[in-house]
């Protein structure tokens, strides 16, 4: 399987997906 980090487009897409995960974590951790 090809490493997604070899593709700049997939790297950026994963960056935005991770942002969504981080935003959810911010709300869960802060309890807000």
């Amino acid at each position: 399987m090809k490493n997604p980090l070899d593709s700049l487009g997939q790297t950026v897409t994963l960056g935005f997906l991770l942002t969504v995960v981080v935003v959810i974590l911010i709300h869960l951790v802060s309890g807000t």
Binding site: L5, T19, V21, I26, V29
Partner: protein, 171 residues
Amino acid sequence: MAEIITYAWWIFAFRWFHVLSAIMWIGLLWYFNFVQTPTMPKIPAELKPGVGKFILPEALFWFRWGAMATIVTGLILAGMNGYLADAVKLGIDEHSPNITAIGFGMWLGTIMWFNVWFIIWPNQKKVLGITPAGDDEKKAAARIAGLTSRTNTLLSIPMLYCMLSASHGVF
């Protein structure tokens, strides 16, 4: 003069230097990932040494010291603002999404700084011939440095979201 250079002014000065050095660091990170790496295969063989021998060492110098200046000014800034310890603990028990957001941003930035100084730079030293390495070792080092640089590009997106959202009224 004393009325102008207040504690708040120093906080602003460190924020200014933090942003300046962060632009130096992330700007060069994106230059490597968005410009240099994708363009290298298209550059004629006789011109490639110009990039590897002249542009890359200079860019890596400002890249790694930009990273160092960013983390140092960032930690001073968080300390001066009084939220360093709470942010390191991700704002648990603070019930403040701003502190939790800056905490996540700081941890993501710290992982990226670690990657620059302890993975990318030692491997790039092999690629550039600063650290002696055989051809196979150089190839492996270039692969590790490249993938870590891509990882930092990925992490820069949520890291910047955290840094900006913490102080620009998203929460």
